[in-house]
Subunit: 502 residues, 2 copies
């Protein structure tokens, strides 16, 4: 055998990874279609087609030859740093995936498909009991997956690691423990004050006007419509097939203006990240997002630090009045700012304000932890849920649809995802603070509806690196500190001091 | 090794075929998306993703193990007739596909992708010269493919066989030779008569009204909207991902009512066939269409024998008036019938009447034959094209866009497809005649806008068999005769005698 150069070997590695990515992203196209345009009778076979693609991608990725290639490349010193990083990360992924049999990947994918349809049905019937047995099967598989993957201390750690490498129950217990009491105290102070009026958000906002307004905002933020598109789905999401095809979805409630608008901005945050990933690293780790936490930091940054800012309300107010003259008559930009930032303990996570949002996440974290360690059975979720909503948020859950059936994640087998929403929010605050410090003109730019400088800063400092640095490394690199809660908490204090005169 | 039962082996065969079908249909989903919703910058990687799926499906299908399995199954006597047929056809496909290297499949798919984009660009610039080099590369690959596959007499036969097994240059030369002169004579007689007025078709027909009318017609014909959907694309097509997800597309020209309407009916014909294929034969030959000729017989049957009939115009006239009161004011159903059947030599195949249509096909057939045998170079297509349009249709081609750049097929590498349009039309007439004879109430049913009896007859006699019988076998089985041109020609005589008083 002739010894191949590192360049040749790396090219072979790239080629294999490209092929696997093609199949994974094909699966993503089928999923996108499933959530947007799939005719109802097409659903069963679609699930099967997606499972076959997952299984095939897994088989290709865990093939012995790729392992041999990676091992050889690990020994080569004459690669660039970025190439070395790709090899190191692919090797990590390879070792991880090798632990899981392809047949298990198929079984998991098929079970997810059944569970997803069972969840839809259960929601229609407003009965968690309908969903519980299917969810129990999925939890059993996720526990099995944790066993395959291995873990120290807690099986849930194996799953948390999938969404954010290095995330553990211990760390999350600590960060949620640190933030729980201060948040609760702040919430109590706010609730003791006179309430903000947000009734204007619940007038009639025609569908097509909302749609057009949403697109307008997306364009302003810099979402490239030539490299993506927006469609309607039951649950808003972002999905990417490469950095030049990053799609988002939204839903429109004609009686709730905020449902679409800030969800658009949230998904735009995800999409701007994906559109900013280096397209010459397609299929390679450095072409992928750093972690789900970092992904959520991007969506939450745009949603909260841009979209829910006073600057945004003031600048966009004339546009709002143009699209909805009736609905915004007699209101000021400040009224809008206060209305969209009203703090109100409530039942639905996706409609929650920036403060109470994290109680929703903590409750889900507690449930997932208990499910995976086996101290809670799926049938007991509603009781646990309702008790915790009463305890943390002082709300009484009237039915499963507005309770433990509200989120799609568990039906997808995504256990370990929810914590990234909170961690992402905390990182968002820390990143936004760093951006303000490093771009002195930023405030002025945002006041004038110029979002490019912020986007450019994110592209340069974060997006372009892909997975080259993990969450912690990225945060240290960009902000000089490990991820923490200080910026987040101080920002909430400032924000609500202003809005609620605390 | 323990000897496995035929049942076990057949199950293993089914499972392999299902998996391959999942990947092939995934590729079809990506193609559908490419033609409907793909953002422009997503195109390059999309082409690559499709190529990977084609290559992967080819690799799986030509794997040694499947060959061994098929060979063993061929020896088993204890299978049902249908199972034996599936095995025999899969073996044929296997032997055929084995001749082509997977790397060639990839190269062809990538070249098709480039060629398709080059064609789009050339159309924009209205310059065939822009497209010619890319097309030349594709023609070279198709010639190579013919060599891989092998053929007797003419390399084009290897390609014709892909669309309709057993179709050859000789047979086509004969059938086109038989029909050419009678058609030309009929055309001359018609052109000597006073012309029919179809100006009402070229008023303004608003997009949304046309869209709604099209869906109305689709539903009436029996197209199952729960197992399919219609979208807009540049070029109307039907595509299926299984018999419960069969999608069609259309295009709307606000100044030409017929552009959308009869294209809807044409695609519905294709879709009704696909929706009628047995869904328990997913991925197996008996779950696939018999041939492209039979496919086109279905689209042409619904388009021409139903959609362009007087009965259709009479029954749908009140609906037309309801959707378009202004446009159909002062007209009768007979005016509509005559208008939509106006015979007029023209430049665009898809807008051609039932008579001149076949000259468009014959010209393309002559060009393909010459390209594949090497007697014509792609650069010389425009001259050849324009000369033949002058000769057969007496029209002068003003530019490439209205000439040899009009059809998408060559850019897709589909050489051998066009003849099936004519053969399909001839078969449609023969099938419709058989339906009339076997369902005496059919005329009355169609007069009253009841399309189910015809559909049911097609389902029972044709759709349900999938590929179990080839074109010839099916035609003999259903009509008692080999496919011929008599029914087609006699029908045209009758039709135009009535419309043109010949």
């Amino acid at each position: 055998m002739i010894r191949q150069t590192s360049k040749e070997l790396y090219a072979a590695y790239r080629e294999s990874m490209r092929k696997i990515a093609d199949i994974r992203y094909a699966s993503a196209v089928l999923q996108w279609d499933q959530e947007t345009y799939l005719p109802p009778k097409g659903a069963p076979i679609r699930g099967q087609q997606i499972s076959t693609l997952s299984e095939t991608a897994h088989q290709l990725f865990t093939a012995e030859e790729l392992g041999v290639l990676l091992q050889e490349l690990k020994t080569r010193g004459d690669l660039t740093d970025k190439e070395k990083k790709n090899i190191a990360l692919s090797w990590e992924d390879y070792e991880r995936q090798k632990k899981i049999p392809s047949a298990f990947v198929r079984e998991l994918s098929e079970t997810v498909n059944k569970s997803f349809h069972s969840w839809i049905l259960a929601r229609k019937k407003n009965s968690f009991a309908q969903f519980s047995p299917e969810l129990a099967r999925l939890v059993a598989l996720k526990k099995q997956e944790a066993e395959y993957l291995g873990y120290s201390e807690h099986p849930y750690n194996a799953l948390l690691d999938e969404f954010d490498k290095g995330s553990t129950v211990n760390k999350l217990d600590k960060v949620f423990g640190d933030i729980r009491t201060p948040l609760k105290e702040l919430l109590d102070k706010i609730m003791a004050k006179p309430q903000v009026d947000d009734s204007f958000l619940h007038q009639h906002f025609p569908k097509d006007k909302q749609w057009a307004f949403g697109l307008d905002i997306l364009r302003q933020l810099g979402y490239d419509m030539e490299a993506g598109r927006q469609d309607i789905s039951e649950h808003p999401f972002t999905i990417n097939f490469n950095s030049n095809d990053v799609r988002i979805t939204t839903r429109i409630d004609e009686d709730d203006f905020s449902a679409m608008t800030w969800s658009c901005i949230h998904e735009a945050g995800h999409a701007l990240y994906e559109q900013g990933l280096p397209d010459d690293e397609y299929g390679l780790p450095c072409g992928e997002a750093a972690s789900l936490t970092i992904h959520e930091s991007q969506s939450r940054l745009w949603e909260n630090h841009v979209g829910r800012s006073e600057a945004f309300c003031v600048f966009q107010f004339p546009l709002l009045q143009q699209y909805f003259p009736e609905q915004f008559r007699g209101l000021s930009a400040t009224d809008v700012y206060k209305g969209i930032n009203k703090v109100q303990p409530s039942l639905i996570r996706t409609e929650a304000d920036e403060l109470t949002y994290h109680f929703h996440v903590m409750i889900r974290f507690d449930i997932e932890k208990a499910l995976i360690e086996g101290s809670l059975q799926t049938a007991d979720i509603p009781a646990f849920w309702n008790e915790h909503y009463a305890r943390y948020l002082n709300v009484s859950v009237p039915d499963d649809k507005r309770g433990c059936l509200q989120d799609i994640h568990w039906s997808h087998g995504s256990f370990g995802y929810f914590p990234t929403y909170s961690l992402g929010s905390f990182c968002a605050a820390q990143l936004f603070d760093a951006a303000q410090q490093s771009v002195p003109a930023l405030e002025n730019e945002l006041d004038n509806g110029r979002y490019q400088p912020l986007l450019q800063w994110l592209r340069n400092n974060l997006h372009q690196h892909g997975r080259r640095y993990n969450s912690n490394e990225l945060m240290v690199r960009i902000t000089g500190r490990e991820p923490g809660i200080d910026n987040f908490y101080n920002r909430l204090l400032d924000k609500y001091k202003n809005i609620y005169n605390i």
